[in-house]
């Protein structure tokens, strides 16, 4: 074994997370090579110094209590019947008025928290979860780290390529002031997933990524799907990117852009 290979197993030797055969080879090298031996000693010391100085901290008691309470509240949110039972089981030694006050507070909190979780977090997060993959892709495209596989400024060529190659009938819209610069056809993230088509539009430093996939095969959360089927256009932002999700009869469409939310809405309204 040479120095390079030895370094690959250096941490494993320090932690003794190594099989006997490799260990023997690494030790043999270390015995002969002063540089690696030194490196090994230093790494061992580093580990020791981390381990002995940074101890595991106990979990704060109130954290456990908070989590348990919140789970209960969440649980009650699923079923209002349970909340009523919870409300009446307050401690007997409190004066009536005080008890009543606590019940009111508990109920208000329960309603507040569950409504926050049910509506805001649930809906917002559900949507965010659906688009997060696309936003990452958008980020890489915007930074020039990823490129659509078909690059061309020729609208008709791109359109023909897409119709030829994709398994469904994609829409290729004209977006005012923006120019279609590229497109890609991706197979889904998991084997059962449907194909999707991404179109990339550009105007100076503004980019619009238009993603579409067949609606019936798109794997997404039922709630989001329901909203889209109702004809809702969901607009929101994540960090600096704005996005929109909506559906046609056959397709689920999602647009990600570095335009502001309002600008995006304006541009999309002009194109559809």
């Amino acid at each position: 074994m040479d120095c390079r290979e030895t370094r690959e197993f250096m941490s494993a030797l320090v932690d003794n997370q190594i099989d006997d055969e490799t260990k023997r080879k690494v030790e043999e090298h270390i015995w002969r090579c002063a540089t690696c031996r030194n490196e090994f000693e230093l790494e061992k010391k580093t580990k020791q110094i981390i381990k002995s100085n940074i101890k595991l901290l106990p979990v704060p008691n109130e954290l456990v209590t908070t989590i348990l309470t919140q789970i209960k509240l969440l649980q009650n949110g699923y079923n209002p019947h349970l909340r009523a039972i919870e409300g009446t089981s307050t401690k007997p030694w409190f004066e009536f008025a005080f008890t009543f006050g606590i019940v009111v507070v508990v109920l208000t909190l329960a309603i507040l928290l569950t409504s926050i979780y049910e509506n805001k977090m649930a809906q917002k997060e559900l949507v965010a979860r659906e688009v997060s993959g696309l936003i990452n892709y958008f980020d890489s495209v915007a930074k020039g780290m990823a490129k659509p596989e078909i690059l061309s400024g020729d609208f008709n060529y791109l359109q023909n390529q897409l119709i030829l190659k994709s398994s469904f009938q994609p829409i290729v819209p004209h977006i005012p002031e923006f120019k279609l610069v590229g497109a890609s056809i991706n197979t889904g993230h998991s084997p059962g997933d449907a194909q999707c088509v991404n179109l990339l539009y550009q105007k100076d430093d503004k980019i619009i990524l238009f993603h579409q996939a067949p609606l019936h095969r798109a794997s997404m959360h039922e709630d989001v799907k329901k909203r889209i089927l109702k004809g809702e256009w969901i607009y929101d932002t994540i960090e600096d990117e704005s996005f929109a999700i909506w559906g046609t009869k056959e397709l689920i469409c999602c647009v990600v852009s570095n335009l502001s939310r309002d600008e995006l809405e304006r541009v999309l309204k002009q194109s559809w």
Binding site: L42, E43, I49, K51, L56, Q70, D139
Partner: protein, 221 residues
């Protein structure tokens, strides 16, 4: 996907969409408390060392557990629950903290690269000076040094050296091969040592720059 799996998935989904009965809800809560709560120590400590303070760590753990509870039926019994919880937490962490402070993607990678280049090019520990790195080192400084590691490296150091996890489990947590765990840990500890060296130099225990004798492996992951 096999037909059998598909049907199973559909049944699972249907159960989630329809309202559960009280009995089912309570069973679910008991199950969750029994399975998931015991791992709070691991998660809290990871959160604490990643965010660097108690409040953020508590928030992160809380968020993780609430998410885990909401999606409890997506957890497959018998699989590694610690890995499942850890992945939920890691996603929350990335969404909450990493994106807020740094640009995603490229910038992050550059930082790691630069950091590693400095570690490699600048020699900082010849045998007669090495002792000084570990002498007079305070707990705060080690915590500070750990905090300066890029997330990827800090994560493996926390999991291996503070939480005492096996390489197999770390690989499982992070969805990376064991070889990558080994190299990240080796490099992570080295970066940390470099930080400690800087502290020692600042405090005057070490003067000048020692001669280069380090042989280092090429940058790969």
């Amino acid at each position: 996907m096999k037909l059998k799996d598909k049907i199973e998935k559909l049944i699972k989904k249907e159960k989630r969409d329809k309202k559960l009965t009280d009995e089912e809800l309570q069973k679910r809560q008991r199950e969750f408390e029994k399975e998931a709560l015991p791992h709070m120590l691991l998660l809290y400590n990871y959160a604490y060392r990643m965010t660097g303070n108690e409040e953020d760590a508590k928030d992160l753990v809380q968020e993780t557990y609430l998410k885990a509870f909401r999606f409890w039926d997506q957890y497959e019994p018998g699989t590694n629950i610690r890995a499942w919880l850890f992945k939920i937490m890691k996603n929350s962490y990335i969404n909450k903290y990493r994106k807020a402070t740094k640009e995603p993607g490229k910038v992050d990678y550059d930082e790691v690269q630069n950091f590693y280049e400095t570690v490699r090019d600048e020699s900082f520990e010849s045998s007669d000076l090495q002792e000084h790195i570990f002498e007079n080192i305070f707990e705060d400084e080690i915590i500070e040094a750990l905090g300066k590691l890029p997330d990827e490296f800090r994560t493996v150091v926390i999991l291996a050296d503070i939480e005492g996890l096996s390489y197999e489990e770390i690989a499982d947590f992070l969805d990376i091969p064991i070889g990558t765990v080994r190299s990240r840990l080796h490099r992570g500890r080295k970066m940390l040592r470099k930080q400690l060296y800087e502290f020692a130099k600042r405090k005057g225990y070490i003067k000048g720059s020692p001669e280069d004798y380090e042989i280092d492996e090429p940058d790969k992951d």
